[in-house]
Symmetry: C2
């Protein structure tokens, strides 16, 4: 976040900074979504909704599971949340008690760890291997013979790597968790940004997992703060109660707008097509610059690179790259407190032109810095 603040400062001073640091699309929400928001504004009061969310949005999400995954999800198990941020907090509060051991991966999305710490959970970080995703064997190893794990949270596609858990391995992982009584939370926020195959939701394998998703990434709705979760039936009422106190409801205007998001696939697939172009370019260019790609860039819009050819202090590397090349990217320490010193995350959510320009700048900078 220091890099972000410094990048904003440089931009405010008129410098032409390219950001590969932020995990958000540069495109606005789809036309039809913004039109729905305008209609909500015209209709009158933007008020509290049911804590579980507007019926129309919950139904649209259920229809999405049928259409996109071929999975039947009852509307009663769908909860609309104030972004996936709220969904994580709600899931942790409903599933776990202070002191419970809950596993996440290293590297991984830093908010997982921070929210868990705020709630007094014991965070168990499982270091990932070359494959870049959590395996059943790794989960079993973190559980068996230790204080038992109460939960496990993983993302596929993952942040910061973009790695995707293959279907068969996802099934093994969920089976491993279920057989040990470990509650599984599947973060599917980067679904539909899969460049190597169709999405597989954990719900297609085990209907009793908790799935968290959002309109932020594929649907280009970060600042609307709107997401959802699919819960095991018995968690719905507890989550409803906690939501009433902690959030009341997700913003109604965002709920009204998100109902239409599933109709915008052609507009959004065009955006995805641009990510794919940047991805193909970066998969070639980054290794040429001595930035080894540390995990398969199968999804999301990130490249996680081993920068140890250039530095063993990714924070200093990020600061210098920003100051000297005017390219912002995120030091790996944000995602992995142990190994992160030799990694950097590059987001390619910006335009293709920006990504080309950024790699050119990095090349010249590394040439000069070398």
């Amino acid at each position: 976040m220091d890099v972000l603040a410094e990048a904003n400062r440089l931009k405010a001073d008129g410098h032409d900074v390219i950001s590969m640091a932020v995990g958000q699309p540069s495109d606005p929400a789809p036309q039809i979504v913004r039109e729905a928001a305008r209609e909500a504004l015209a209709d009158g009061r933007i008020g509290y909704t049911d804590a579980l969310g507007l019926a129309g949005l919950r139904e649209a999400i259920a229809a999405h599971y049928a259409d996109h995954y071929g999975v039947e999800v009852p509307v009663s198990r769908i909860v609309v949340t104030t972004g996936s941020s709220a969904a994580f907090n709600l899931a942790f509060l409903a599933l776990f008690d202070a002191g419970d051991r809950v596993a996440i991966t290293a590297p991984g999305y830093p908010a997982y760890r921070n929210i868990m710490a705020a709630l007094g959970l014991e965070v168990v970080e499982i270091p990932l291997g070359q494959e870049g995703y959590l395996t059943a064997a790794q989960l079993a190893e973190a559980h068996d013979g230790h204080q038992p794990l109460k939960g496990v949270l993983f993302a596929s596609p993952a942040n910061p790597t973009g790695a995707i858990i293959p279907d068969a391995e996802l099934a093994e992982l969920l089976e491993c968790a279920a057989s040990r009584g470990i509650a599984a939370i599947s973060d599917e926020i980067y679904h539909r940004l899969n460049y190597v195959g169709p999405d597989k939701t954990a719900l297609a394998i085990r209907p009793d997992v908790t799935v968290i998703n959002s309109f932020s990434k594929y649907y280009c709705m970060t600042g609307w703060r709107i997401g959802w979760m699919v819960l095991p039936e018995e968690l719905v009422r507890p989550v409803e109660r906690i939501q009433q106190s902690l959030y009341i409801s997700a913003p109604e205007i965002s709920q009204r707008a998100a109902i239409r998001a599933f109709e915008a696939s052609s507009e959004l697939d065009a955006v995805k097509q641009r990510y794919r172009q940047s991805r193909d370019m970066l998969m070639k260019r980054l290794p040429q610059l001595g930035l080894r790609i540390a995990a398969p860039m199968d999804g999301a819009f990130y490249a996680y690179c081993d920068v140890s050819m250039h530095t063993n202090d990714s924070m200093a590397f990020a600061r210098r790259m920003l100051a000297e090349a005017h390219v912002a990217a995120t030091p790996g320490l944000d995602f992995d407190t142990v190994e992160g010193r030799r990694f950097m995350r590059f987001s390619y959510a910006g335009s293709v032109g920006e990504m080309v320009e950024a790699t050119g700048r990095i090349e010249r900078w590394l040439g000069g810095a070398g």
Copy 2:
């Protein structure tokens, strides 16, 4: 919340239910606010903002403290939040650790207790006397000779009563807290809905308190989920970090819209004028119906009534009133787990016509039921 759900069910079945149950204005957000939202939609991406909020909104809030209260509040101490709900959670996380004793009032807003319980804080409920607000003497009594209190949270005007702490008593209360090292949180969400005098912010008395406020009530922006807090300087950085993980930022469209809310005073004062009419009517009518007003209706849009002339089970009373008179109101147990059985909260945030009709229905119903 059961009453709310049942009221919605009756409405969906075509029954003409009048709600005196919900604490939200029936008016839409001011014109100028909705126009600003439309402009944000037209401008392009609705994205994440700085965790502390848009600079323009923080500046507008600082200007509001100067204009409305004559108090200088540095922009650096203002944090924009996803409604006051987020502000409470952030304040508790930044100020307290699990197990800490924190005082609230009984009756009081139920989410205080629920959020604290979710965070593992020890909730100390201080029963209020006839005056309807927390006094320095009551706070001292809950602290001295017990495990020390780490914090105290109070609202003025209060939910569910509308009671306002007189200026001199507020100063004594804040002095009592400060001298004992008790962190004070002043919930000022019902400010500008004061029917008996000018508002006094706790910041005018002690700049080192935490103040929580929102655009939900006076500004008619409930469903936008947008509020703010003013923090002691040393809490800003901790709150910024927690906000980054738990919320990322408040919804950008709501932030862009709220910047204009302070310009809408004439439109909003007209709404307040209608609340005042309903209040004047209810102050007369409710006691005539045997619904004794339990605390001065000085602010907000609530009447908290002692219903013990009719029942000692306010939950059953609320259910019957809804089923038989088609008027929804909130049983006191939501606000006071001990004494709430003999109280009900009536919200007059609806139209004057609805309030007149509702009291007529209650009168006929009590006549028939008696």
